[in-house]
C-alpha cells in the first residue's frame, strides 16, 4: 500500500502555481490592454491635432480671401447701416408728399396760400385767401369731395374774414385719413 503523504501539500502548491500563472496572465493582458488604450488615445490625439492644423490653415486662407474682399464688405455694411434710417425717412417723405399733393389738389385756382403746417397730432392748419366768395365755396365743396391721394377725414373752419373788396381770408384745420 502506497501512502501519499505529500498529496495535500502538492495540491496546494499546484493550486498556488495555477493562481500565480493566472495572475501573471491577467497582469500581461492588463499591460497589453493599457498599452493599447494609450496607443489608441495618442493616435486619436495625433489625428485630431492634424485635422485641426488643416482646418486652421483653411481658416487662415478663408480669412485672407475675405480680407481681400473687405471693400465690398464695408460697402455692404455701409448700405445696411444707412438703409435702416433711410427707410424711415422715405416713409415720412412719401407721407409728406401725399399730404402736400392732397392739399394742392383741394385748393382751387386763384387761391393764395399763406402757408400750411402739419402739427404733431397730424392736424393740418391751412391759411390763405380767395378773391371771391364763389371761389371759397368751391374750396368748401372740394373738401367734401373724395380727394387724392389722401382723403379728408375731418375739416374745421377756424376763422373766415370778409374784406371790403370781396376777398375771403380763411383759416382751416384739416385731418387727413392716412
Amino acid at each position: 500500500m502506497e501512502i501519499e503523504l505529500a498529496k495535500k501539500t502538492i495540491g496546494r502548491v499546484r493550486q498556488a502555481q495555477r493562481a500565480k500563472r493566472a495572475l501573471d496572465k491577467v497582469i500581461i493582458w492588463g499591460a497589453i490592454f493599457l498599452s493599447l488604450v494609450i496607443i489608441i488615445i495618442a493616435a486619436a490625439n495625433l489625428l485630431v491635432n492634424r485635422e485641426n492644423q488643416v482646418l486652421d490653415s483653411k481658416i487662415q486662407s478663408l480669412k485672407k480671401q475675405i480680407e481681400a474682399k473687405s471693400k465690398i464688405e464695408s460697402q455692404q455694411v455701409y448700405l445696411n447701416s444707412k438703409l435702416t434710417a433711410f427707410g424711415g425717412l422715405i416713409k415720412t417723405h412719401e407721407l409728406h408728399q401725399a399730404i402736400a399733393e392732397t392739399i394742392f389738389s383741394l385748393i382751387p385756382d386763384g387761391t393764395s396760400l399763406k402757408g400750411f403746417e402739419v402739427t404733431e397730432t397730424g392736424v393740418i392748419s391751412l391759411a390763405g385767401s380767395v378773391p371771391s366768395w364763389g371761389l371759397f365755396s368751391r374750396l368748401l365743396t372740394n373738401l367734401e369731395q373724395p380727394s387724392r391721394p389722401l382723403t379728408v377725414a375731418q375739416s374745421k373752419i377756424m376763422q373766415i374774414n370778409f374784406t371790403a373788396d370781396g376777398q375771403v381770408d380763411f383759416d382751416l384745420e384739416l385731418t387727413l385719413k392716412i
Binding site: I59, I72, Q76, V77, N80, K82, L83, L89
Partner: protein, 233 residues
Amino acid sequence: MTKKQKITGQILVLAVTLLLFVRPLAVKLNANLKAREQLVKQAAELSEKLEILNGIETGLVDERVKKMEAVFPSIKPIVPLLASLSQLAAEHSLTFGGLSLSPGSLSQEKGQSDLKDLSFNFEVGGDFLRISQFMKSLENTAPLMKIESVSLNIKTNPLFDPGATQVTAQVEVSAYYQAPPKTLGSIDKPVRLLTKNEEGLLNQLIGFRTFPAILPTGAVGKEDLFEVQPRLP
C-alpha cells in the same frame, strides 16, 4: 513577493499609469475634439461669408453706394445742397436767394453715427405754377430734403404781365445725413444680405435727381472712401 503584495503592486502600477499617461492624453484629446468642433463651425461660417461676398456684384454695389452717398450723405451736405437748390431754381426759371443756414462744424463728428438733420431757410420767386413744380421737384432731389414749412407772399408786378401772379415762397427745409459705421467688426461677423424691402428702397434712390457740385480742381482728402485698410483687432 507574496500574492497580496504582487496584486497591490499591480494596482499601484495601473493607477500610476492611468494618472500619468492615460488621463493627460484623454484630457488633451477632449480639448482637441472641442477645438476641432469650433474650427469646423468657424470654417463653415467663413466659407458662407466668402460665398456671400463673392456673390455680391462689385459694379452694382459701387453704384448703389455712390447714389446713397449723394442722396443720404455721411457728412453735412452743404455744397451739394447749395448746388442742387440754385440749379433747380434756375431750371424752373425762379429767383433764388435769402438762404440762411448755420452748418456749424464741417468736419465729420467723431463717434456719432445716428441720423442728423440740417435745417435752413431760403426764398424762391416766380410765378405760382413754377413754384409749385419746384416744390414737387425739391423732394425728389439729392440730397434728401423735407419741406418743413412754406409761406407764400403775393407780389404781382403790374409792369409785366398783370395776369401772372408773382409769388415769393419762403421755404424751410431739413436735409438729412448720417455718418457711416466706423469699423467692420470681427472678421467672423456675418455679412447681412439686403432684404427685398431694402432692395426696393435702393431702387427708389434712382428716382432722386442729382446736380453736379462745383468741385476743386486738385485732388484733396481721401479719394476712395472704401479703400482697403488694416483691420482693427
